[in-house]
């Protein structure tokens, strides 16, 4: 039975995945495969390993879709968490981590649909703008943890800080980022670099 998914929310698509609907899984991939691959590649810096992380993340979703609770998470968060967690597991196992966070990969000719490219670019700029408004130390803690795959204890050691300090930078940074994403404020369009000294 062919389905048309265009009118369905992400959460409704996951509900269909829970009924073992393979075309719903395909739809989920079409909606999030590219972001999933992007973050896995950023963490792992290896195309083969990134593909593994994406595949395992989607299969985890396939196996657990019947336990998805829409009141607990958005479908996108739920799915991308599986992929990210898998990427972090792999990077820790492969011991591929480095502190030299490449700020981002050089602009690549992204050959998706023009619409998708435009939307992803918009999202990227939105989140990057918010990130840039965080104090340097908080942003560094978030980036090293999320993109670098470092645990809080490893970060404490590398940065020569007590674990409590790292923990609190992450908490404050993430909470602040949440506010910035919810309400970027009047300076939304201007990229205001955070003053490094006050």
């Amino acid at each position: 039975m062919p389905h048309s998914f265009a009118h369905l929310s992400d959460e409704a698509v996951v509900a269909l995945v829970a009924r073992s609907d393979q075309s719903a899984l395909a739809e989920l991939y079409d909606r999030f495969g590219r972001v999933a691959y992007g973050v896995a590649l950023r963490v792992l810096r290896d195309e083969k390993l990134a593909e593994d992380a994406v595949q395992e993340g989607f299969l985890t979703a396939w196996r657990n879709a019947d336990r998805f609770m829409p009141e607990r998470a958005k479908a996108s968060t739920w799915l991308l968490t599986f992929v990210h967690r898998r990427a972090v597991d792999l990077v820790r196992r492969e011991n591929r981590r480095r502190v030299d966070l490449l700020p981002d990969r050089a602009e690549q000719p992204a050959s998706g649909s023009a619409e998708e490219d435009a939307w992803l670019r918009f999202e990227r700029e939105r989140v990057q703008t918010a990130l840039k408004q965080l104090p340097d130390q908080q942003r560094e803690a978030l980036e090293l943890a999320y993109y670098g795959g470092f645990s809080q204890s490893e970060l404490a050691e590398r940065l020569g800080q007590p674990v409590g300090t790292i923990k609190s930078r992450m908490f404050t940074g993430l909470a602040r980022l949440r506010e910035l994403l919810a309400d970027p404020g009047p300076g939304e369009t201007a990229w205001k670099p955070t003053p490094s000294t006050s």
Partner: protein, 234 residues
């Protein structure tokens, strides 16, 4: 103070920045801390936003097909719980033991509402497994479809079945040699999936009646669905 420390782990957990042992400890705490569960909803969503802040190159074209293929093969390997006649004895014992443990946890920890939702989902899952079996046959009739796998595992999929008041239930029957065997109780709904608890062999007749809540050992009403499975064996 101990509690405050562990509350603060919510951000690190959302960022996947705990080691395995810390993560387990935090998850144990999460199961009885409403405040952390609420924080985690928000902070996980924010952490996931970081996935969008990075360049998103197009993944290799064959990745999608590989994921779908793996998903399909996993689904085909799942051993259905219900039709025990199709499973070797040792496997039945193992499955039954797991099911008993699972059921004990299930019945003590969840509300009745959740139980029903889970039951409905797992019925759908079992039906999906039967439909997915190679060689499964569909026999359509006016209100739906009977699906029969070569093993005899079978399911009814019924459309627009009126909801009954709580004094009544629908009951499925599989008749072999003229003797109907009870094959499961179910409720009405827009689309109802009913895995049958009796195998459907060539020539068997599948029926549905309305019965008193709790079901009966033999049909007391005239069946409103009667489907004969094909006499052909494949």
């Amino acid at each position: 103070m101990e509690a405050d420390t562990i509350h603060q782990l919510t951000a690190a957990y959302a960022l996947d920045a705990l080691d395995a042992e810390e993560a387990r400890e935090y998850e144990a705490h999460l199961s009885h801390c409403e405040r952390c569960r609420e924080d985690l909803v928000e902070l996980s969503e924010t952490a996931t936003a970081l996935a969008y802040a990075t360049e998103a190159p197009v993944p290799p074209a064959d990745l999608r097909a590989r994921i779908l293929q793996r998903a399909q093969s996993e689904r085909a390997n799942i051993v259905p719980l219900r039709p025990r006649w199709a499973i070797p004895v040792a496997a039945v014992a193992a499955v039954a033991a797991c099911a008993a443990i699972g059921l004990a946890i299930w019945s003590t920890s969840l509300s009745g509402k959740l139980d029903r939702r889970e039951a409905a989902l797992s019925a759908q899952e079992r039906v999906a497994e039967i439909i997915a079996q190679p060689g499964a046959r569909n026999i359509s009739f006016s209100r739906g479809t009977l699906v029969v796998a070569p093993t005899g595992e079978a399911a009814l999929v019924l459309r627009n079945l009126a909801k009954l008041d709580r004094r009544y239930t629908y009951e499925a029957w599989v008749a072999r040699g003229g003797v109907p065997q009870a094959a499961g109780l179910f409720q009405g709904g827009d689309a109802v999936s009913v895995p049958l608890e009796q195998p459907v062999r060539a020539g068997a007749v599948v029926m549905v009646t309305r019965e008193k809540a709790g079901g009966t050992g033999a049909p007391t009403q005239h069946p409103f669905v009667t489907v004969k499975s094909s006499t052909q064996t494949q």
